[in-house]
């Protein structure tokens, strides 16, 4: 009897606040269970992504890919895990030990905690003739977007510190590149969200999804913002075409050159977790979150399904892009961020604000699409003009370090600045 009672309260606590029903203890236990559940799902999705990346890339290159462990090779992540666990954990003697050990954990953490504010399912509620979308998430912060941007800002540390602590020139270059790249794209990431906030009038992700449930996805209102956010998310996760920090043809393996065994696995997992979170964010901010053109009214499971499918689509897009588009050069990456995305995002904000201020709803539909078209035309013209011109090899920010004598490619673990 008591057990049944407490089970009910714990279950009630998972999706309700104590003010609305359920006991405080049940609420706390329910929340903890929910956090554990979400964390595990995120990690398992990350592990599955490792498998699907290999399978999808194999499929794109007309190979088979891992198919030995389990059905269709689905248990391959487990085998990889076993391999990582039993591999010798090498800590080179020249590293900065504390930071070296901490860095992989630091890089995984921000990605995982971001999931706290993402509404992964919800239900359509009715009171009288008022219908609204009630999102379910771990914490519906009213500053959710700021929280996300903060965590995006913090995710730089793992890679940067890992690169620094390894005390090897390739790692250091990878770390420096990562910090410059991620700071730059954080700006366009943040600026791309602003039009969304202008239109919803709220920083809470629950409100943003609710708005989209009632009015339509932001993908259609703000295609340019969507594009900038998506590409910036790629740069933030350090995935190809923006994988400067670990570009293996230039930097051996970049920031994780000196890492092995489980520490390397954590970096690896962090990258896939960042991908998962990035996809979930794109879905939440621009693709209606768990809503699906009214189908979500069928029940909470439909919301969850819709959210999961959309997220998996964007995860697939990550892989698709990685195996399709070659790596940018560093100066191209910086030019794209600073002289294209940031001005365009600012213009987009200006236009959206103007459209909102004039109070003509039609403008909201027309202006962003018009801006996207104009941007595409300009990009096309510039691209055509630049294709013929030979561009000088321009600066890596790290070249300031060497002032003339660039690092000669020496041993894999050469000392920095020698």
């Amino acid at each position: 009897m008591t057990t049944a009672w407490s089970m009910v309260h714990v279950l009630a606590g998972i999706f309700s606040r104590p003010e609305h029903g359920g006991s405080t203890l049940g609420w706390v236990i329910g929340r903890v269970l929910l956090v554990l559940l979400v964390a595990h799902v995120v990690l398992i999705v990350g592990a599955l992504m490792v498998w699907s990346e290999r399978r999808v890339s194999a499929w794109m290159q007309d190979r088979i890919g891992p198919n030995r462990v389990g059905p269709e090779g689905l248990l391959q992540p487990l085998a990889d895990l076993g391999k990582f666990m039993f591999k010798e954990d090498v800590i080179p003697r020249h590293v900065d030990r504390w930071i070296y050990v901490l860095a992989p954990a630091i890089s995984l953490l921000p990605a995982m905690v971001t999931f706290a504010v993402i509404p992964f399912m919800g239900e359509v509620q009715q009171a009288g003739d008022w219908t609204w979308h009630q999102s379910w998430q771990i914490a519906d912060l009213d500053i959710g977007v700021l929280y996300i941007l903060s965590m995006a800002g913090i995710s730089v540390y793992g890679i940067t510190l890992g690169g620094w602590a390894s005390n090897s020139k390739y790692s250091l270059l990878g770390g420096v590149r990562a910090s410059a790249q991620m700071i730059s794209y954080e700006l366009s990431l943040g600026l791309a969200i602003v039009p969304v906030l202008l239109m919803t009038g709220s920083l809470g992700l629950g409100d943003i999804v609710r708005w989209q449930g009632e009015h339509g996805w932001f993908l259609f209102f703000q295609p340019l913002a969507f594009f900038i956010f998506l590409v910036s998310a790629y740069a933030e996760t350090n995935r190809l075409p923006f994988d400067m920090p670990e570009s293996e043809t230039e930097l051996v393996a970049g920031y994780h050159t000196e890492y092995s065994s489980m520490k390397f696995a954590l970096f690896f997992l962090a990258e896939y977790t960042h991908m998962t979170v990035g996809s979930a964010l794109v879905v939440t901010l621009f693709c209606g979150g768990w809503t699906l053109f009214g189908l979500e009214a069928l029940g909470p499971w439909m919301g969850l399904l819709s959210f999961a499918l959309k997220t998996f689509f964007f995860l697939f897009l990550f892989i698709w892009v990685r195996w399709t588009i070659p790596r940018f050069r560093y100066d191209q990456l910086m030019a794209l961020g600073w002289s294209w995305f940031i001005p365009l995002a600012l213009l987009n904000i200006l236009l959206t604000a103007a459209a909102l201020a004039t109070g003509i709803p039609a403008l909201l539909y027309v202006m962003p699409v018009g801006l996207l078209a104009a941007a595409l035309v300009v990009v096309g013209i510039v691209y055509r003009r630049e294709k013929t011109a030979v561009r000088p090899l321009a600066a890596d920010p790290t070249s300031a370090l060497w002032s003339g004598n660039r690092p000669a490619g020496g041993g894999a673990t050469g000392e920095v600045g020698s």
Binding site: I143, L146, L149, L172, S179, E186, T398, L401
Partner: protein, 189 residues
């Protein structure tokens, strides 16, 4: 009750991290401890129910300023510079003395003020949103409600009473950008 425990926990964390940041030899370790301090302070703000400031603290300090610091430390590769010159004992002695005196004077003044009963105030809980809505039945939107500490309320304050300082701040930032570019560029072409 829980709030007080949390406040002491996070405040102490911030203080300890600040001390460590100041005393570490390795500049990167200092930077990391400073990040810990920023987190401690952000948590303190959240405990005091200043949510917006807490988020901005992480966003600006931990997410931007300290990354810039780390970037510069790595760019200069300060590993060889770890053994910085010792300041003269005189400067060191008077520095610590000044800081301790400052602290002692502050704490004594604080105790005196408490004795005179000047410090009867405390950070009290914000009214809950539901209570405010119940108390203002004729309000048509959340904007009309006195919701304290939320982003909306702070924006309201910032863009009405403090518009001019806001604009001046943006000009200062512009100046800082120009200054940083000019200082670090080897030659302006």
């Amino acid at each position: 009750m829980a709030t007080q425990v949390l406040y002491i926990l996070f405040g102490g964390m911030a203080l300890g991290a600040a001390l460590l940041a100041v005393t570490r030899k390795n500049p990167v370790a200092s930077a990391i401890w400073l990040v810990v301090m920023f987190f401690g302070l952000a948590a303190t703000y959240v405990v005091m129910e200043a949510f917006f400031v807490g988020a901005i603290q992480i966003l600006v300090y931990a997410g931007a300023i300290m990354v810039l610091f780390l970037f510069v430390i790595m760019l200069l590769d300060l590993r060889q510079q770890m053994l910085e010159g010792k300041p003269t004992t005189r400067l060191r002695f008077f520095g610590v003395l000044a800081a301790l005196l400052f602290l002692v004077v502050g704490v004594v003044a604080l105790g005196d003020a408490k004795d005179r009963g000047l410090l009867h105030r405390a950070v009290t809980p914000l009214p809950r949103e539901a209570d405010i809505v119940a108390a203002n039945p004729d309000a048509t939107s959340l904007v009309d409600l006195p919701l304290d500490g939320t982003a909306g309320a702070i924006a309201d304050e910032m863009f009405t009473r403090w518009v001019l300082p806001f604009e001046v701040a943006s000009v200062i930032l512009l100046g800082a950008i120009l200054g940083a570019v000019i200082l670090t560029k080897r030659r302006l072409t």
